[in-house]
């Protein structure tokens, strides 16, 4: 449903307030590029789809009935525009089908990190526990970990990348993501969890892991040649 803020914006757009339009473009621009990238093969094609969407929004705003929120309405138009553009470039399936196609059922944590279920003392316990990360005080996005995280996100399958970008980078609610991408709450949760898990694995490979059983902390550096740095 359109809320008060939506109605104020729509009234402003209908009376020709260009500042209101610019605000709307700035508010949704980056999320729209991210969503369009799920349907088209290039950044340039995504930008074109976003531009075409705004023109369609401008043409259609007088007929907007407020049954969905303004944001949902805009992103539904975007999905249609981008899917059509993707079809022209021989790549385009609905987001839900894309998400399903990407789902390989891979576990979030490598099963080798756990002791076997028939272990005599610690069945099913962690064999190699996640180590406390030596995080900079300024947080994960300070220093080199920023690049590690950006690379991990860039390497995600596209549906997972879109989900984590909308939820964790753009700060959308799960309801908004489900509405805009037309996926179920369960599918959204799985995509997001897979995405965060892979980002976590990327950070862990960078920082190294600690072997829990056996007492002596060791880094994962020898076991995993993607680890780049000793946590000491």
């Amino acid at each position: 449903m359109a809320d008060d803020d939506d109605e104020r914006l729509i009234r402003a757009l209908c009376r020709g307030d260009a500042d209101a339009f610019a605000t709307l473009v700035d508010r949704h621009g980056s999320a729209m590029i991210r969503v369009a990238m799920a349907y088209v093969p290039s950044r340039a094609a995504a930008e074109e789809a976003v531009q075409e969407t705004w023109i369609a929004v401008l043409r259609g705003i007088d007929g907007f009935e407020g049954r969905a929120s303004l944001k949902t309405w805009i992103f539904r138009i975007l999905a249609n525009v981008a899917m059509r553009a993707g079809a022209r470039e021989r790549r385009s399936i609905p987001f839900s089908a894309l998400a399903a196609a990407e789902d390989t059922g891979e576990p979030s944590v490598d099963p080798a990190r756990f002791l076997p279920a028939d272990h005599e003392r610690f069945p099913g316990h962690w064999a190699i526990m996640p180590a406390r990360w030596p995080m900079p005080e300024e947080g994960l996005l300070a220093g080199e970990t920023r690049e590690v995280i950006a690379a991990a996100i860039a390497g995600l399958p596209v549906a997972q990348r879109t989900a984590i970008a909308l939820r964790d980078i753009e700060g959308w609610s799960s309801e908004d993501v489900c509405e805009a991408l037309e996926i179920s709450a369960g599918n959204q949760r799985i995509l997001l969890h897979r995405a965060r898990s892979r980002v976590r694995n990327g950070i862990e490979a960078y920082f190294g892991a600690v072997e829990a059983i056996g007492g002596q902390p060791v880094t994962a550096e020898g076991a995993d040649d993607t680890a780049k740095k000793d946590p000491q």
């Binding site: 020709g16 260009a18 339009f21 610019a22 473009v25 700035d26 621009g29 980056s30 729209m32 590029i33 991210r34 950044r43 930008e47 976003v50 531009q51 705004w54 023109i55 401008l58 043409r59 944590v109 316990h125 962690w126 526990m129 996640p130 180590a131 406390r132 990360w133 995080m135 947080g139 994960l140 996005l141 920023r146 995280i149 950006a150 996100i153 984590i164 939820r167 964790d168 980078i169 753009e170 700060g171 965060r196 898990s197 980002v199 976590r200 950070i203 862990e204 829990a212």
Partner: protein, 59 residues
């Protein structure tokens, strides 16, 4: 997750340093990525859109 499952997980986390660290890391990731915003439409395209807005509204 049901209330029973949530309670079970809570109790497990109290005694399992591996899982509580894992959860902590996942929550840190979820709460840390807001600073990665970058992708937006190019300035020239934004200007063109605002011009299109004027044109359509004054047509």
């Amino acid at each position: 997750m049901s209330a029973a499952e949530a309670g079970q997980m809570e109790r497990h986390l109290e005694t399992c340093p591996g899982c509580s660290e894992y959860l902590d890391q996942m929550q840190t990731i979820a709460g840390s990525l807001g600073g990665l915003t970058e992708a937006s439409i190019p300035a020239a395209m934004r200007d063109e859109l605002i011009k299109a807005f004027h044109d359509l509204r004054n047509a």
